[in-house]
Structures are given as C-alpha cells and as structure tokens.
C-alpha cells in the first residue's frame, strides 16, 4: 500500500508560506520517497528553492515513515531546529501532516497533495485499489473493485459508455466491468454478475470515521 501524492505548484507553496520566513522541512522515507515527491532529493531541492525565495531553512529531516510513531522521536531529535522555525513544511502525505500535528502547535504546511491509496501493479505503476467503502464485494467481482476501477463506481454491470473494453472517460482506461466480466467468465462464475447489488450504504462507519481497538 502506498499513499500517492503530487507536489503542489511552487506558487501555491510560496503563497502558503507568506509571513512564515523560517521553515523546517520534513519528508518521508516511505511513500513520498517511492513516488519521488518527498524523499531526500526532493527535500533538498525544496530547501534550495526556499532559500532562493529568501526563506531561512532552520533544518530538514526525512522521517522513515511519517505516519507512524517514529514521527514523535524524529521531531524530538530535531527539537532545536524546529523551535527556531515559524512552521513545518511537510513533504509527506496528509497522514504524515496529521501525525506531526499531534506533537507540535506550530503551523504545518503541506507541500504535497494526497491523491489516493494505491498498490504498485508493476514497477512504477501505482493504481488506486481500495476506496475503503466498508462493504467489500471483491469476492463477487473476481477481485476487481468496481468502486475504484469504474469511473462511476457502478456495482451492477457496465454503463452504456463502455466501448471495446475501454471507458468513456478515457480511451486508455480499461472498463472495469469488461475486466470483471472476462475474469468471472474464466472462473466459470459469471452468475455472480447476474446478482442484483442493492444501493450502497454510505454510512457503514458514520463520518468522521474512527475506531478504537481494545
């Protein structure tokens, strides 16, 4: 599982840092390193870019996994440089921003947009695989998720926009229901496609979603 991110434009980062002249930068050694949006190289580039803008970079670090409890340790190690900064510029995904938020009162400015949670199908190709809908029907759809793989999230078969196995939104994209159909057919389980899927429950876990494990 990888959290997929993209860098915000330089203009947007510049605007978000208005009035915040001393900056500490935090990258992540896991997902944003993998996607080349917030690993060591990108953090160093960002440092140089901010210095060109006249900012003072009080320090930087790349936390091994910014969304887990190592964030606290890492932030303690960098306590001095962080306390000298007006803000933290985060080059982790939003999960990392949330984690940092637990340990510091200063503003944390995201330099990245978090797009989706993906699996790496082949080297460098990251595909959204799960929308965490709370009602998994992968067992009935040959392991292909119509909630994420179909543009419209349809659960009862293809729409009329499908053409030669492709999606109406993008001719490069596969129609999820053609994939599901082909796979179920191979498995001799096409009857599953005939089953009526009722309207989804959008409040399996009411938002805001949280769970306490005892």
């Amino acid at each position: 599982m990888k959290s997929i991110t993209k860098q915000k434009s330089q203009d947007e980062v510049k605007q978000s840092l208005e009035g915040l002249d001393r900056v500490f930068i935090i990258g992540c050694g896991t997902c944003t390193t993998m996607t080349k949006t917030g690993g060591i190289d990108q953090v160093v580039e960002m440092k140089e870019h901010l210095q060109e803008l006249g900012k003072r970079v009080t320090g930087w670090t790349v936390i091994p996994t910014a969304c887990d409890d190592m964030t606290e340790v890492s932030m303690k190690e960098n306590k001095q440089a962080i306390s000298n900064a007006d803000c933290i510029l985060s080059m982790s995904c939003a999960l990392g921003v949330h984690r940092m938020n637990l340990y510091i009162d200063k503003p944390i400015i995201p330099a990245l947009d978090t797009l989706f949670i993906a699996v790496e199908d082949s080297p460098g190709y990251f595909r959204e695989a799960c929308a965490q809908c709370g009602q998994c029907i992968l067992g009935e759809t040959a392991g292909i998720c119509p909630i994420t793989a179909c543009h419209k999230g349809l659960v009862n078969g293809p729409c009329g926009g499908t053409n030669n196995g492709k999606c109406e939104v993008d001719k490069e994209k596969d129609c999820a229901w053609t994939l599901i159909y082909n796979r179920l057919k191979e498995q001799g389980r096409l009857d599953l496609m005939r089953k009526y899927q009722p309207p989804r429950n959008h409040h399996i876990v009411p938002k805001p979603r949280a769970v306490r494990i005892q």
């Binding site: 543009h151 009862n156 293809p158 009329g160 496609m193 009526y196 989804r200």
Partner: protein
C-alpha cells in the same frame, strides 16, 4: 390517469417516440416549438437530462411543458446529479404533475461535459433507479417508510445492441428486465442484421423494444459518431452513400436513410417501435416519419 405511452405499447401498434433537448438557459421557445411540432405525431417525447453532462434546463421542466401542451412526456432520469433522496422526491413531483413515463439511465460521466469539476453522484445506478420506482409504486420509499400517496410509472431503460463485447450489456439488460423495465429504447442501430439477432434474443423477455434511430445529418457526423460515440457503429456503406453526394443534399439523404431503416424494421416486425433522435434537427422528424411511410406528407 394512465400512461398513454403504455397504452400505445400494449396496443400492438408500431410505437414511435422522439426526443427534445432542453435549452441552455430560460428561453424555451425552440423546445416548445419542437414539442408542438411532435406532440400529435408521436406516442411519447423524451426529454434529455443534461445530455452529455452539459448543464441545461431540467428534464422534469421539459416534461411539464409537454404535459401542459397535451403531449405525452417520457422523463429521462440519470443518476449522475442527484442522490437517492433527490431522485425519489423528483419522481413524487413528476407523478403529482401528470408525468407517467420514466426512462432510467446511469448518466454520462461528469468530465465529458461542461462542468468538469462537479461531483458525479451515482448514489444509485440505472438498475437501482428502476427498482426504486417499483418500490415507490408499492407505497414505500428507499428508507422503508410508507408514502402518503404512491406513484405509478411506465418505467424503461436503455440497451446498446452493438456494444463490444455484447454479453456484459445483455446481462445488465436482463437485470433491468427483472428490475421492472417495461420498455427499452436502444442506442442507435444501423446494422439491421446485427439488430435482428439482438431482437431474436430480446424477444424471450416480456418487454417492448424501441429501436434507436439517430439521424445522420452529414457524412462527417456519421464518421464522427462511429469513431467517437460508444456503442454506435455506422456501416461503411452508409458513410459512403452520404459521402458520394453534395454536402447540401446530405441532410435529405440522412432523412431517407432513417426513413427506410424505420420502414424495414416495421415491415419485418423486427421490434415494437422506434425512438427517433434527430439531435438538434428536431424540425425534420416529421419528414423522417413521411420517409418511413408512417405519415402522409402534410399539405402546405
């Protein structure tokens, strides 16, 4: 008050429906003109619901106008823009105002239209919408609550007989039949051989099929459709037929092609009727009916 369209479907006659597109704005003049032109010549008039995801005057509004002018509206309803509550509420309003026919569609994707950043809703799909109508008919809403006054619609859906691969579409077709669809309007068909094999299959089911006839207004338009519109396949000989004549005669040729297609469908009783889509050329629908031998040329 029952659906006159449903009566036509059940009468055994060759049923004709057509459609009008609401305007982008509040100037209804053109749409009302098309309604007046068609209302006494066809058994039902569809009103499109933000077709191609382009925001327009609503389908429900167009249907009310047809109803007020004495025509028989078929309300197209997509699942793209409204969640289940809004769809149910609009069905209650439509029924209370005399609308008796609904065509249930999933709806085009938002990014193909003119509000590319809007949220696509798709809380329900076309099949779930059909079943919602049946549930409202039974006097209950999707929350399981009783209605004070139920609805009664002649509900239909669409099918694409020329889709590749076809089997996933047919599975969905059968789910729609089980879900209570009484009629189907098909995506445009041109290849009668392919369509008759679809009809052989479809005849097993207790539903009425109206073949989709899209007017080919030019060779360019025919080529564009076959290359870009999912599920539409215009055979090369029709494109050649249009290409071989001067541009200004193409529309008349398109009318002739539509007319002879309809006449062939009717002659062989291939299907239960046709749904004529003139896409911006609604004023020539009567000419198509004349060309099909379904109407005498009006004396002018």
């Amino acid at each position: 008050m029952v659906s006159r369209f449903k009566e036509a479907l059940n009468s055994g006659k060759f049923v004709i429906t057509s459609e009008v597109a609401p305007p982008k704005g509040t100037n209804l003049e053109k749409m009302l003109h098309h309604i007046d032109l068609l209302k006494d010549k066809v058994d039902g008039i569809n009103v499109t619901d933000h077709q191609s995801s382009v925001m327009r005057f609503p389908s429900l509004g167009g249907c009310l106008a047809i109803e007020e002018r004495g025509g028989e509206p078929i309300m197209q309803m997509t699942c793209r823009d409204r969640n289940r509550m809004a769809l149910e509420a609009d069905l209650l309003l439509a029924y209370s105002r005399g609308i008796r026919n609904v065509l249930c569609l999933t709806g085009d994707a938002v990014p193909v239209g003119d509000h590319k950043e809007a949220k696509g809703v798709f809380d329900l799909d076309s099949l779930q919408l059909l079943r919602t109508i049946r549930q409202l008919t039974s006097g209950q809403d999707l929350g399981g609550n009783s209605l004070d006054g139920a609805v009664e619609f002649c509900a239909g859906a669409i099918v694409t007989p020329e889709a590749q691969p076809i089997e996933p579409q047919l599975i969905k077709f059968e789910k729609k039949v089980d879900g209570g669809a009484e009629f189907f309007q098909t995506q445009a068909i041109y290849d009668l051989e392919n369509f008759s094999s679809f009809m052989k299959y479809a005849r097993q089911f207790p539903v009425k099929i109206l073949a989709g006839i899209v007017l080919l207004s030019s060779a360019r338009m025919a080529k564009y459709m076959t290359e870009n519109v999912p599920g539409i396949f215009v055979p090369q000989d029709l494109i050649d037929e249009l290409s071989s004549i001067p541009k200004e005669e193409m529309l008349a040729k398109g009318i002739e092609i539509a007319g002879r297609t309809i006449a062939a469908l009717k002659k062989d009783s291939l299907c239960d009727g046709v749904h004529i889509m003139a896409i911006g050329r609604e004023e020539v629908v009567p000419d198509i009916l004349v060309a099909a031998g379904l109407m005498k040329k009006p004396v002018t």
